[in-house]
Amino acid sequence: MALLEYESLSIALPGMARPVLDGISLSVFAGEVVALVGESGSGKSVTARAALGLFPAGAGIDGRVRVDGTDLVGADAASLRAVRTTKASMIFQDPRAGINPVRRIGDFLTESLRLGRGWSKDRANARAVELLTAVGLPDPARHLNQYPHELSGGMLQRVMIAAALTAEPRLLLCDEPTTALDVSTQAEIMAILGKLQREHGLGLLLITHDIELAAAACDRIYVMYAGRIVETATTAELFAAPRHPYTAGLLGSSPPLSAPDGPVARLTPIPGAPMGLLDSAPGCSFASRCRFARPGHCDQSPPPLERQGPALVACHRAHELTATPGAVAVAAAGSLSPSKEDS
């Protein structure tokens, strides 16, 4: 059984033209590192929060989210709390916004232990020092008495990770854990996360807009666009042969950090802007930005997520485009004209 399992989860907000999430199915197994990649506004953060039963206020929810067998949709407060305090923890993007600025670091770390588990102050503090050491903070005892504004962003993100570990979770949700940090700190944080994941055999869901980061850290990748999953495959498969034009676009538009010596491919940005919540399309959401979109074909109905070789792809033209392996990637990189592909 998967540790975390989404079963066609849909979330809709009143007044919006399209659902925030539209039939998300995704799973993370114990000991596995999975990435959910998408542009901002694609719904990836909403997806991550749903794994803790944090749904947007006033939203209409449909489908299932199971953590270790507990369904969080419509769950009561007690079982939600049980999941949050013992099974799953989340690391948020901006630690400075995520830690109460008027309380001490020690308070933040020990709150759940003391209030939730009824630990004594000394015991909780000792545990907090242990955890701060585990995430590589020097002089942890001193930090317990400091306020968040006295620590750097990188230090705070370590505090955030330590706080996530107080629950001794089996599942770790990381929502853009390095985006708010400077580049050198980003690598350290990713290293700490990797180490903890291996040591504790955690299931880890990494939410990021950075497909290269996802590739470096994860076994499998889900690509999300406008509230839907458009492609999923193992990292190797996805990079070798992206099957959805959007995935190919993401790969084309991110600089290849892994191969600094090789020839630097020209960056090709995806034209147009991501679809907002006030826009909707009857067919494929990506059609308006897609070089391969065929009028009368792609804009009729939303494409289902279907198996194409080793991957699942939601594209009306997936079977044509994947007939020649790598064609989409090459075309998206700009060396093959899509008009020829069409004719």
Partner: protein, 287 residues
């Protein structure tokens, strides 16, 4: 996508709430217009001379002759209410006009000069801020005697820092914008830029503040008349009417005091609501 979700996507809730907000604001605006009109045409609207009491007709309930009854002296409450709009409007109007004009001048001046002048004037405004308007007005009465002139001036001084601070804050922000520099580069004088170009841009926000101030000045002046320091009988005034109606309240005939009390609250609510919604709209946020 399930039907349940489809229902939520186009919820009527948001539209309904927006409409509800506008309804209150429009009603309050209407009330203010009515208030101004009544005060302008009071002598023609009042059915009777409120300063002329009929002996023996004291503390009568509502009747065809006296729609809202009479007070202890037999004065017609409805007429007094209508005539009272004039004093209730004139006092706050003077306070707001004076405090707004001086406040704009002080605010623009300090924002433009900056430096130590700005600091010193800022500290002085802080000190004025420590004197509540009503207290300053009472002090003015203690010095100059009862009446409206001295309290209105005192209150104008007490209200001035609110406008001055607002204008200073806005002007400092505006000053940093490129268009002001562009005017200066073209050789326009500081005075010209401040008054002709900057003021129109911050004017609406100042107007919103002044509208709210108007309501509070009305409250303070009514309180002053209630204490017997402001408008002196027989001139009809809401605060003074409430004061005179107090004895009747203890006799179980509160109407002649409650009518002006309700009028005060309604008008102040209207000023607050209109002023705040104006401010909210200018600040680009919905209430």
């Amino acid at each position: 996508m399930s039907a349940q979700i489809a229902g939520v996507v186009r919820g009527p809730l948001t539209r309904l709430r927006a409409l509800g907000g506008g309804w209150l604001q429009r009603l309050c605006l209407l009330l203010l217009v009515l208030f101004v009109l009544v005060s302008l045409f009071a002598p023609w609207l009042a059915p009777q001379d409120p300063t002329f009491g009929g002996l023996g007709a004291g503390l009568a309930g509502p009747s065809a002759d006296h729609w809202l009854g009479t007070d202890q002296g037999g004065h017609d409450t409805f007429s007094a209410l209508i005539e009272g709009t004039r004093t209730s409007l004139a006092g706050p109007l003077a306070v707001v006009l004076f405090s707004t004009v001086t406040g704009i001048a002080v605010g623009l001046f300090t924002a433009w000069r900056g430096g130590w002048i700005d600091t010193v004037v800022g500290r002085m405004l802080d000190i004025v801020f420590a004197f509540p308007a009503l207290l300053l007005a009472i002090l003015a009465v203690a010095i100059f005697g009862k009446g409206m002139t001295a309290p209105v001036l005192a209150m104008a001084i007490a209200y001035m820092p609110y406008t001055a601070r607002l204008v200073r804050g806005l002007a400092v922000q505006e000053k940093a914008r490129p268009y002001i520099a562009a005017y200066r580069v073209q050789g326009h004088s500081a005075m010209f830029v401040a008054v002709r170009r900057l003021l129109p841009n911050i004017g609406p926000t100042v107007l919103a503040q002044s509208t709210v101030n108007f309501g509070y000045a009305l409250l303070d002046l009514a309180a002053l008349s209630f204490l017997g320091f402001g408008v002196q009988p027989p001139t009809p005034d809401w605060g003074a009417m409430i004061n005179q109606g107090q004895a009747a309240v203890l006799q179980g005939e509160p109407l002649s005091a409650i009518v002006p009390a309700v009028a005060v609250v309604l008008v102040v609510v209207a000023f607050n609501v209109v002023g705040e919604s104006l401010g909210d709209r200018l600040a680009g946020r919905d209430s």
